[in-house]
Symmetry: D2
Subunit: 333 residues, 4 copies
């Protein structure tokens, strides 16, 4: 049994908390959030304790793991504190938004030697995992072109946008990580375009909401990643990918929870809309928690680590700079 303290009772904490509570080898002991009401609302129904700060939990030897999923700005401090307390760490992506601060954090965590998993949940989506397995098994030969689309259902609150580090670091970083993970190769060149088309308030917050990023790898793979802060069409086409190889094509289509379709005189019956990535990647969240719990208990390696966080952040930094400067950027790791 692995006992958890969860940091962050927000949108993503609400995904992880019941997954911990329902895992046969895990227990949710406490939920930490400065908003104690939110912590309580999440903790109580799951039989856990609510705390406003984390010191007591980190000092509690019965707690073996922390899951850090508060605002991005808190990730590094909590990661370092948990590492120093000897806890196994599951940290939501991104670790941080400042590359130098991230590198110092890597040093701290590495020194303590605690197990660390970075929450690139899309790696645990069965569809994308099937792509990676097929690519590694050489099913489509050398991957020549990649197109990945990822769209939020609706724009996040402006307060979130302001802290997010921008759409490339906050949102597109998932697709960036997929490219690195599936190709097992790091892109060397980035060019991005960004526009604010969806909500002018996003522009006033200094961000863009509709972006494309072109990447090139040393072996010649050319990728285009597309993200946007809304998906007026619902689930259909909101997360999808094409991998064109020298021998074939792999494609990730729209994933629906059932194989049922309905039609009446007005078109389809079920609107098949989706409230967001929490639903699309519900299985992925469960699978990544299962991976983390088992890796901690069995002492086996984590599928993602701090270096994945650092490299994806460097690419997102390059994309951000490219979109702002309207120039291609060479990526150095």
């Amino acid at each position: 049994m692995l006992d958890f303290c969860l940091f962050g009772a927000g949108r993503i904490g609400k995904v992880h908390a019941p997954n911990i509570a329902g895992h046969p080898k895990a227990r949710l002991k406490c939920v930490v959030d400065p908003d104690l009401d939110a912590a309580q609302a999440l903790a109580e129904p799951l039989g856990a304790k609510a705390l406003a700060t984390g010191e007591a939990a980190l000092a509690d030897d019965s707690i073996g793991a922390v899951l850090i999923c508060g605002p991005t700005t808190t990730h590094i401090d909590q990661t370092e504190a948990a590492a120093n307390a000897g806890k196994a760490i599951f940290c939501e992506k991104p670790i941080g938004l400042d590359i130098e601060r991230v590198e110092r954090c890597i040093e701290v965590v590495t020194k303590t030697g605690v197990p660390f998993y970075l929450g690139f949940d899309m790696r645990f989506d069965p569809s994308f995992r099937e792509v990676r397995d097929a690519v590694l098994a050489d099913a489509i030969g050398h991957v020549e072109q990649i197109i990945i689309v990822g769209r939020d259902p609706v724009p996040p609150p402006i307060a979130y946008v302001e802290q997010s580090g921008g759409i490339f670091r906050d949102s597109m970083i998932h697709s960036i990580d997929l490219v690195r993970w599936i190709l097992e190769e790091d892109p060397s060149e980035a060019f991005a375009m960004g526009e604010c088309l969806i909500d002018p308030a996003i522009g006033r917050a200094g961000d863009v909401d509709s972006v494309m990023l072109m990447l090139r790898t040393p072996s010649g793979t050319i990728c285009t990643l597309s993200n946007a802060r809304h998906a007026p069409q619902g689930a259909e086409g909101s997360f999808g990918a094409q991998f064109f190889g020298s021998k074939g094509l792999l494609r990730v289509g729209t994933a629906y929870p059932t194989a049922t379709e309905g039609f009446d005189a007005n078109g389809p019956l079920a609107k098949r809309d989706f409230p967001g990535f929490q639903q699309r990647f519900a299985d992925a969240y469960r699978h990544e928690l299962d991976h983390f719990v088992n890796a901690v208990i069995d002492g086996t390696p984590m599928e993602t680590g701090l270096e994945d966080g650092r490299r994806s952040l460097l690419i997102a930094d390059a994309a951000t700079e490219s979109a702002q400067q309207r120039q291609p950027v060479t990526i150095r790791y």
Copy 2:
């Protein structure tokens, strides 16, 4: 926590055992099978005890529930013994093959008042449940026509065929139950055709392997159910359904575990075959166990019961008689 004794370490026991073991509110205490090696092979890795006979388990007060999934011929005796021992009962379909014997069993179980769930797992398939919910919500109006296809991947062993009660009672009974459950109406007329096309040994065992059944309900719904003992094309089209209503159409297509598709010069990369219903209905098996566990613990009603078993058996009996006599059969309940 609900502690289980599982009766039957065969094909379907191998599906249920890990589901029990992995359920947060359930524990697998013992596995009973006259083939003690099989019982051991299943029980041991899950931390359960293997037994050749069930008496000890039924006498053990710590065991709250039995899951009966041995050969069909054993279901009734085990059900009655478990009922008399006061256990909650999860019995695989069908309860039995002889309608009079089934009716006596219903009396026994009813008298004891123990919770009883009959394993029509397809009711817990999210796709078919979505159909039922939509039909009950009047999304397609009065259901005028139904077509349901169900195919085994490969023929079962002849020894299994011989005990199975025939393809209508063994295999098509799932689709029969779906019709009753989705329409909330019992068919009144049956006509069936059967052929032995796939394996002559099935014919020598007195059964057929390729069948269609036409049903009519009192409200005028006409249904065709199609079953066969092989699916040379793999998963594609092996389980599917169409529900034509006065206002629209509901359709259940091929359910795949991922949204990934692959193509190379020889066609698709992933063969997308399926080893059988255990894989297609893996989620349904988990959901029905979850339903059973919660209904026992909370004392809430079971979604299927003995009367569902009796009625579906009567329809399968009518289908069997119709195919043999080449005449339509009126169904009386």
Copy 3:
């Protein structure tokens, strides 16, 4: 060049007339209809003459072919007259509704030796032709089960229903012909159910509007054909088929004119509805005319003939009788 006289300016005449006029090797010379206004409305824009009766056209030696597509009750008389006038004949299905009258007509036409094509247009649908080609090439082995669905978009006028010979002879006869044509085998046993669910006036006219027909062939193929007089869901699923073989599956899905799909917050953008079989089988109508014109000009055999009409009618007769008697019917040819 083959000059045509078209008999019948109704629903189906409006499909054939422009096809004749647009064919590079054919010319539409006249349109015959007792409703002279209708004849004129159809003939004039296509540069043809309108006539109330056919004598003059049949006497005109420059006319090489007739296309008969008026009410079913007129087919046989016009066919015999055209045969006696030595014209090549394209007759819409069915030839007639009375099997004895059909057999006498066959004698007449056979004696004259004129080319005769019976308008089973679905044989020229590229999707069903692909199925037949694949079946004949043994792509799926022995065909064990067939399911074919065919639905009208909306019920025909009651006046049409009254003359139609009933839904089996009028509508389902297309699927019946497909089964014979694809299997190259004639069914020997029929069982049908029919209900009047859509429009009570259809019932008052002595017909049903929602039917299923089960057929068995001597080699053991079991088929279910489903037809209904409306399709509230639009094109989706209104014409479709599954052919389950000993080695694989062939399936005909919904045929759309483009590969474009649209989605907005209310679901799909394009309703993708279809006004009926004229649209679904527009290509088939063109292909069958092309086949007829070339077969007449080149003196090559027709793909369908009178015997196909007779046999399909016998099966439709058996279906009608079965639905009325609620008994299976043995089919003799």
Copy 4:
């Protein structure tokens, strides 16, 4: 009737020649090709005359139109000669590869006032036309992002590559024109990446074979166009597009000639491969010819003209420069 002289008996001439011959309002009078054998092989079966040079045809007053589809290097000279001879002109894209030469040609043709159509056949593909119609009808609101994929089935001969002007001007220009046509807006900024991954001989010929182009329009639409010189996966995914709008999504999927699908133990039966764009866009070629013939006969405007050729070439020039310089390029018209 419009009588044609066809210039060019190659790959694309073989598509157009039978379309002219089969059009009810057109006649193929002669085929011109310096390779007289090729001209003869194409002309004779269609009842046309073969010529090695075009002077006689241009001098023949009975010829009303020319269709120019020889090597790109011949387009401008033949266009100018035909314009000076007063013929209506259907010229395959691109007009030419040198923007200054193109601009002089535009002057010549404009002065003569002959009807001119530039063969952007994809505008006549029913799927892409449906997209344009929907976009113009504001079905998806402002188009925020576009992704278009176009792939050749196999690389063209190196001799062709050498004359082609490069993959952006030869191949991607189709997608470039689609963007301009559907958006009714000209992109202002281009960034492209190109690699030679498929055939080193293409690299030795100074070209690349795997490219992506990112475009931005003044209203903020960001597009990515992807092209490659092979499609090892066959038809699936080789031509496709996504248009993400402020209100919804339009998508062009894989267009297959039938709605038939087949599956056996090895996967799908029909490989559904495609020999190339001639097959994928067979309907489009017929539709564009029909448009041209009717526009000439009726004196109505052409859907594409010289200015479309000039602007698409300017964008393809920018893409080529960007890929070579690894810098974004501003496009000026």
